[in-house]
């Protein structure tokens, strides 16, 4: 089972009615097919459009970065400025918020977290669904009553086992229940994956040359649209070392400073630059990525980016016994040092 959409709507309606939040970031039905889309709710009357289904893939913590950029949701009254932003968060999304709190990017008072427990469900993988159903036209995807999913196609509803189409992020989920929240809708669950890093088995079993070939082929497909970076809730830097689309130039930047800006990576989508871009990004997410898998889902050319991030998550766990995004009050992996930290890799 899963949380009820009516309860989520009631909570959102109440928050907007009371004027307790500036707006709420949630999900609506997409206009172009059976998948949900991120939505910004500003009035209580809109709350009935909110949806909760297995296509609520998006990690809405991503949109907290826009709140700090030039792109605010709507022109607002002065008193609105102090109000928090409501965000609907799944367990994984709440871990992203925990990291943003830990890094002091977001103040706890600035967000009102409407947690939703995935219980024994999760989101589906579009690719797995397409492979399962072939050319059948999908109209609706819902949570099944006793686990699994109910997919309605033009030929009627069919029940599909969870294991067949559940996204890998959910198969290896470590927080089906939100870790930070102001309210939670749905049951408290403590779901632990049997094989938390099972998806790495195959790539880890390859010899280094085979792995190199694998990544040459996969990263060779990259068209450098930067969707992986742009959808990532952790990639909030104003200026990104891994791409050239976000130079923080202002009217006060001197000609000298502009001339000194180092272009670390060229725009050419060849393997030298693609490797640089993706590996730098992966390193910058070590100890920060909470495995929402949005980068891989967004990728139009289907690069298995999750493997990179999952590998670094595993390294952080095995080398430093570090778990990402469970406690906003512990020091972050990169900014902390303990006497017992291993140093045998320093030569």
């Amino acid at each position: 089972m899963t949380a009820s959409v009516e309860e989520i709507r009631a909570e959102v309606k109440k928050l907007l009615d009371e004027g307790a939040v500036k707006y709420v970031i949630g999900y609506r039905n997409g206009s172009a097919g059976p998948f949900a889309a991120p939505a910004f709710f500003t009035g209580a009357g809109e709350a009935d459009e909110l949806v909760w289904d297995p296509t609520c893939f998006h990690n809405l913590a991503r949109f907290l970065a826009d709140e700090r950029r030039e792109d605010v949701c709507a022109p607002e009254a002065e008193e609105d400025g102090k109000k928090p932003v409501g965000v609907v968060v799944k367990g994984c999304d709440s871990r992203a918020v925990a990291v943003l709190l830990q890094e002091k990017f977001v103040d706890r008072d600035a967000v009102y977290l409407i947690g939703v427990s995935c219980e024994d469900g999760g989101v589906i993988d579009e690719g797995k669904l397409a492979r399962k159903l072939g050319t059948a036209k999908v109209e609706k995807i819902e949570f099944g009553v006793d686990g699994g999913f109910v997919v309605t196609t033009d030929e009627g509803p069919i029940k599909i086992e969870s294991a067949d189409i559940l996204d890998d992020r959910c198969v290896e989920c470590r927080a089906a229940y939100p870790v930070v929240h102001d309210v939670v809708i749905g049951e408290q669950v403590d779901r632990k994956p049997e094989e938390p890093y099972g998806s790495l088995d195959e790539i880890e079993s390859l010899a280094p040359e085979e792995r190199w070939e694998f990544w040459e082929r996969e990263l060779g497909k990259c068209i450098r649209c930067y969707a992986c970076r742009s959808i990532c809730p952790m990639c909030y830097c104003d200026e990104c070392v891994a791409d050239t689309i976000a130079f923080a130039v202002t009217a006060d930047t001197t000609a000298d400073e502009k001339a000194q800006k180092i272009k670390w990576v060229e725009r050419s989508p060849d393997n030298s630059e693609n490797f640089f871009y993706h590996l730098v990004r992966a390193m910058h997410l070590a100890g920060r990525c909470i495995d929402c898998n949005e980068c891989e889902r967004a990728c139009p050319v289907d690069i298995p980016l999750r493997l990179l991030n999952k590998k670094l998550e595993k390294e952080a766990k095995e080398l430093f016994d570090y778990d990402v995004g469970f406690d906003p009050d512990v020091p972050s992996l990169i900014s902390s040092f303990r006497d017992e930290d291993p140093e045998d890799f320093i030569r």
Binding site: G30, S31, A32, G33, F35, A36, A37, P38, A39, F40, H58, R62, F63, D66, E70, D71, C73, A74, G127, A130, R131, T135, K137, I223, R224, C225, Y226, A227, R229, S230, I231, T244, I245, A246, F247, V249, T250, A251, D252, T253, K258, E266, R267, S268, P269, D270, E294, R297, A298, P300, V301, D302
Partner: protein, 346 residues
């Protein structure tokens, strides 16, 4: 010239084209892409459309414009680098994508013809494949002047009739690749032409998505530049480049010098795809950015396609392929946005 081709003789045709780079849609984990296959291959019966269209053949994402090198601290010597005169033939081109190439022709042609583009373009033969079904539920070609059996921009068009294709040549480039095929082709039966036309008409009826009030679109957009509409519609935009890079009509580029060896200075001047959804696209060196937020960038994408391009070239700069809808990771839907402009209170 009309012919027929047995589908199992397709590979034979490819073998007759040894001087060409032969591109065929190749499947990888459910997604298709045009790849050079040599003389092996067929058009997969499950082919829908490629993630990146044949735009990448006539306008590659990376292109070297010139090379420079300087020795003994002299001024660098510059060498022009034009694309090789190597003919290419792309099979399985959807009519929307071929029509899109005719739109990029307008941009790279005119008074200042782009020699790099035209060298590739004039060496590229596009072999169309009529859509028997709309390749995606988000196709909307019929709203913007196209059709699943459209011929604009194609050199040859193939229509699937069971175990064979009905083959129609439309240009001299097309006639060349068909005559190179020689005896692999057969003569059409009396009613093949009619049967082929029927395929296109039936497919057109299956295109589900339509842009409402498409005739008033440009006029409606004319006074929406300062509208709050763009703020409302762009809230979830994450400023990635998917919609524009995958768009068969988007043609913006950037030019950079890539240094290969710093001393003595050696390198290449390259042109790469660029796009209006990246924040630095309009960044001035002063630090001023005339399109500073997602609203102004979405507005630019829509207005360029449905207003400025119409004013400059007399056509929508959109052929309804649906890629920007299918691949947008946050569900921004150009048909929905256009529909809303019709009803928007101005």
């Amino acid at each position: 010239m009309e012919k027929t081709l047995k589908k199992d003789a397709f590979a034979e045709w490819l073998k007759k084209l040894p001087s060409y780079d032969v591109y065929v849609p190749v499947e990888d984990d459910g997604r298709f892409n045009y790849e050079i296959v040599g003389n092996a291959g067929a058009i997969d019966e499950s082919f829908t459309n490629a993630v990146v269209g044949p735009k990448k053949v006539v306008f590659p994402q990376r292109e070297v414009l010139l090379r420079f090198n300087s020795t003994n601290e002299k001024a660098p010597e510059v060498e022009e680098v034009l694309p090789e005169e190597k003919p290419a033939v792309v099979f399985g081109v959807r009519p929307c994508d071929a029509r899109a190439v005719t739109l990029t022709d307008k941009v790279f042609g005119g008074d200042f013809a782009d020699p790099y583009y035209w060298r590739r373009r004039n060496n590229t033969t596009l072999i169309g494949l009529v859509c028997t079904e709309p390749p995606s539920a988000n196709c909307f070609c019929t709203s913007v002047g196209g059709s699943p059996a459209g011929k604009d921009g194609l050199d040859v068009v193939l229509t699937s009739l069971g175990d064979r294709y009905y083959v129609e040549t439309l240009t001299t480039r097309g006639e060349k690749v068909v005559s190179d095929g020689g005896k692999v082709f057969g003569e059409p039966a009396a009613d093949d032409k009619k049967a082929a036309e029927k395929v296109g008409t039936e497919a057109a009826a299956k295109v589900e998505r339509q842009v409402e009030g498409v005739n008033d679109l440009t006029e409606n957009l004319r006074d929406m530049f300062d509208s709050p509409f763009w703020d409302e519609e762009s809230l979830s935009c994450i400023r990635c480049g998917i919609c524009t890079y995958l768009c068969p009509t988007c043609h913006c580029f950037d030019i950079n010098d890539e240094v290969l060896v710093p001393v003595p200075l050696t390198g290449e001047r390259v042109r790469t795809w660029d796009n209006c959804q990246f924040p630095d696209f309009t960044m001035h060196s002063s630090g001023h950015n005339p399109r500073p937020n997602r609203a102004s960038r979405l507005r630019q994408r829509i207005l360029h396609k449905f207003r400025y391009f119409v004013e400059n070239f007399g056509d929508y700069q959109c052929t309804g392929c649906g890629r920007c809808i299918i691949y947008c990771p946050v569900g921004i839907d150009i048909v929905d946005v256009l529909d809303k402009t019709a009803a928007y209170e101005r």
